[in-house]
């Protein structure tokens, strides 16, 4: 899974490793406007809760959750922007 994710072309990368909840979700919300439709956004977070947060948030906002994997002490969470 992580190999496929690493191979993805990322349109917007959000480094939210400096904050705990609700920081990463807010950073994602701030950045989604800069992401082109159909583009992939990657949220980097040191808070594991961000994975489920982004999953649910993507679903509700009609975006597409792509996947996640653990990197060196943090998580990379991928989603695709729809509409």
């Amino acid at each position: 899974m992580s190999e496929e994710l690493k191979a993805l072309e990322v349109a917007v990368e959000v480094d939210a490793r400096g904050t705990a909840c609700p920081g990463p979700l807010l950073d994602a919300k701030r950045a989604i406007g800069d992401c082109p439709v159909g583009g992939v956004m990657c949220v980097m977070s040191s808070d594991e809760g961000t994975i489920i947060d982004i999953q649910r948030w993507s679903k509700k906002m009609k975006h597409e959750y792509v996947g996640d994997y653990e990197d060196d002490g943090y998580w990379r969470v991928y989603m695709k922007k729809n509409g």
């Binding site: 904050t19 705990a20 609700p22 807010l26 994602a28 919300k29």
Partner: protein, 184 residues
């Protein structure tokens, strides 16, 4: 039965009227929070939930009353007050970062300890959360009755972009239209 005899046209008409009535009373995609407590931790929880809802594009209205008001004071602003107002002003926390904890207050040692631990874990402080709240358009409504009772003035409130001063009528109006209302 009357439905059986009703013409199709009449049925549609009555259904339309019912749909319109339902639409008029349907809740907005909004969250309404009552913040009364005045404890650092509980006020923080209120702002975190408010911000989470804002990330979901929900509109958020926060109604602050009684002890909750201390979080909205700006210590740099010192308007003129009567004797009772001064007494309240002196006894209540002067700003958000000075609010007590609901647990582990430990005669004043708790809050700086918790705030240091939070910083270590990169959690946002209440001040930072309030700044985010302003950015995300979260509305703060201040209870004027509580302000009167505690002798608080508009002139001592924080510079917040979406603040107004209301009574319970406004709060009821808000939660009637909201999907959710929590009183913390």
């Amino acid at each position: 039965m009357s439905e059986d005899t009703m013409s199709q046209e009449e049925t549609i008409k009555s259904l339309m009227a019912r749909v319109e009535a339902l639409e008029e009373n349907a809740p907005n995609d909004s969250l309404c929070l009552g913040v009364m407590d005045g404890d650092y931790d509980k006020t923080m929880a209120a702002f975190i939930i408010a911000l989470g809802a804002a990330a979901y594009d929900m509109e958020v209205d926060m109604f602050f009353t009684f002890w909750g008001l201390s979080a909205l004071r700006d210590p740099k602003k010192k308007p003129k007050k009567d004797f009772l107002g001064k007494m309240f002003g002196a006894m209540l926390p002067k700003q958000a970062s000075k609010l007590p904890l609901s647990k582990m207050q430990m005669m004043g040692m708790g809050p700086p300890m918790i705030q240091a631990v939070m910083k270590m874990h990169k959690a946002k402080s209440l001040d930072e959360l309030m700044k985010d709240a302003g950015e995300f358009g979260i509305r703060i409504h201040v209870c004027t009755m509580a302000m009167d009772v505690m002798g608080m003035k508009k002139e001592e409130m924080i510079d917040y972009p979406h603040i107004d001063y209301v009574g319970v009528g406004a709060f009821v109006g808000m939660f009637q239209e909201a999907k959710q209302c929590w009183f913390m």
